[in-house]
Symmetry: C2
Subunit: 311 residues, 2 copies
């Protein structure tokens, strides 16, 4: 029992990547978007993904040492690469973009990847529920919320769970699979199987956990590191060097923060209940991060964060 | 201005390694031990270190790909290796083992690496202070205590600080350098210089911090990981895989715990103020660790921990 038709709701960074990878892996894929305007904004993202996939393939054809995305399976020879290029073009051509709930609902599996706003998600699920066929399984890609928050709104709590992706899913191919207390194991297993089919490594959670596995470790780790910096115990370079020497890791916490983005780290700290107390560690970290953010040092995407990335 | 004569107080795992590496790097090195019995127990440790060093050198001579300890400097050719073997033998022969405070004190730099017991450390420093020449700098290698706890007992707070080593210092060659509020920068700098001279990478702390840099990050990271396990969210293998895939690290938290040792992780959790409340996370983690410890699954040194290491 596996899925054939899949809808991804939402055309943001992750939504577009999930949809493109799903189509690339041969699924009949629909993207649901809120409005014609959203469709207009989503199109260039799919063009860009098509070009990224083609670029990687062209590169792999001429360069033995070129990176091969982990989410694509085994590395192929020139003929295989040409076949994959066909698949990329076909995926791009076949993607169906719609604003219709009815059309979006008419699939075996729907992945919700709309804005991280509980009210919007609830409203989306309630409207969707009117059109969903009995058998459709629904998953959320939410990073910051848990499925039990929306299970009732979907009208099918037993067929509802989370499938959580990482950015650049073609190479960071993890799929954290997490149900809520009412998820039926049968549908959980189907989603695990689907994750494998689209080239993800499924990471199984047996219980609901805010932050899933990775962020449940990453957030306290990064905060402990930022505490050392906010308390002027040591500078970011020294802290990173210590972590790398002590654990053999290729990057320390401040290098990771540059990838995560300082705004995200700021929001996590500023959101904490004790952040209004300026003597709390969360407030101290937020204040130091804000100085960098105000200076435009937002991380690797801005060319500068804790490290300098400009050429 | 640098040190010539050095004493290491304590012949435990770290004390013996620090003394041997210091002698190997050409310093006139004395080891202070509490009793003739302690001297008897320390001798085989130095023999073992001598044989480890010689073994690595012999291996490097015949095998191009053999590991070369980071704490030894640049890799040498066969002639250079023979010269280093001489240095190892000389280091072993020249190590002075003594129970005399007077003899131990008569140096430029003394590193205290005795038992992690505040009363024993205080008594040691107070007795030592009677014999220390004016110029002698003193450092503690304590992992769990901070220098301000003993600064007064040394009688020379301005010349007292911490220099913290990692196990197998010849290859894990970090030296965390940490003063207390009353440490004079001049002596701090001398200890940084000494750390370099014996092949360590000095990691500079600008303030006192329990746990230094590495453990200040490692403890919350490992506890966050163990919380996921203690709460039955995911199994250790999945958690490790998630960390490795998500951060590119060569090992996940449970692999690191096997190296740290489960008893140490247990003690850290059981020592927390809220560990007496069985519903606290520290208590839950301690209880799960205890089950493994009782089964003899103590970590890599026991052949089994979270992973199996027996052949």
């Amino acid at each position: 029992m596996s899925f054939t038709k899949v809808t991804v709701a939402g055309g943001g960074v992750l939504g577009s990547q999930i949809a493109f990878q799903t189509a690339f892996k041969g699924f009949d894929t629909t993207v649901w978007l809120r409005s014609e305007d959203s469709i207009k904004r989503a199109r260039p993202k799919f063009e860009r993904l098509r070009d990224i996939y083609l670029g990687i393939l062209d590169n792999a054809k001429t360069n033995e040492k070129a990176p091969w995305p982990a989410g694509w399976g085994a590395k192929l020879d020139a003929a295989g690469i040409d076949a994959l290029k066909e698949q990329v073009l076909k995926a791009y051509d076949n993607l169906k973009l719609t604003t219709s709930y009815e059309e979006a609902a008419n699939v075996d599996f729907l992945i919700e990847s709309i804005a991280e706003d509980p009210a919007q998600k609830t409203a989306f699920y309630q409207e969707l529920a009117k059109y969903l066929p009995e058998h459709t399984v629904v998953a959320t890609n939410s990073s910051t919320m848990i499925p039990s928050m929306f299970a009732e709104a979907t009208g099918r709590p037993e067929k509802y769970l989370a499938l959580h992706f990482a950015n650049e899913i073609w190479s960071h191919n993890t799929g954290e699979v997490m149900g809520h207390a009412g998820t039926d194991q049968k549908y959980y297993d189907m989603v695990v199987e689907f994750a494998k089919q689209i080239g993800m490594i499924p990471l199984l959670l047996h219980k609901e956990q805010p932050g899933y596995i990775l962020n449940s470790m990453l957030v306290p780790f990064l905060n402990a590191s930022m505490s050392l910096w906010a308390n002027d115990v040591a500078d970011p370079e020294t802290i990173d060097k210590t972590w790398m020497l002590g654990t053999g890791a290729p990057a320390g916490p401040f290098r990771i923060l540059d990838i995560v983005g300082l705004t995200t780290a700021y929001n996590i700290n500023a959101m904490q209940p004790d952040a209004s107390d300026p003597t709390s560690m969360h407030a101290k970290i937020a204040a130091k991060l804000k100085t960098k953010i105000d200076a435009g040092e937002l991380g690797i995407n801005a060319g500068k964060g804790f490290y300098n990335y400009s050429k």
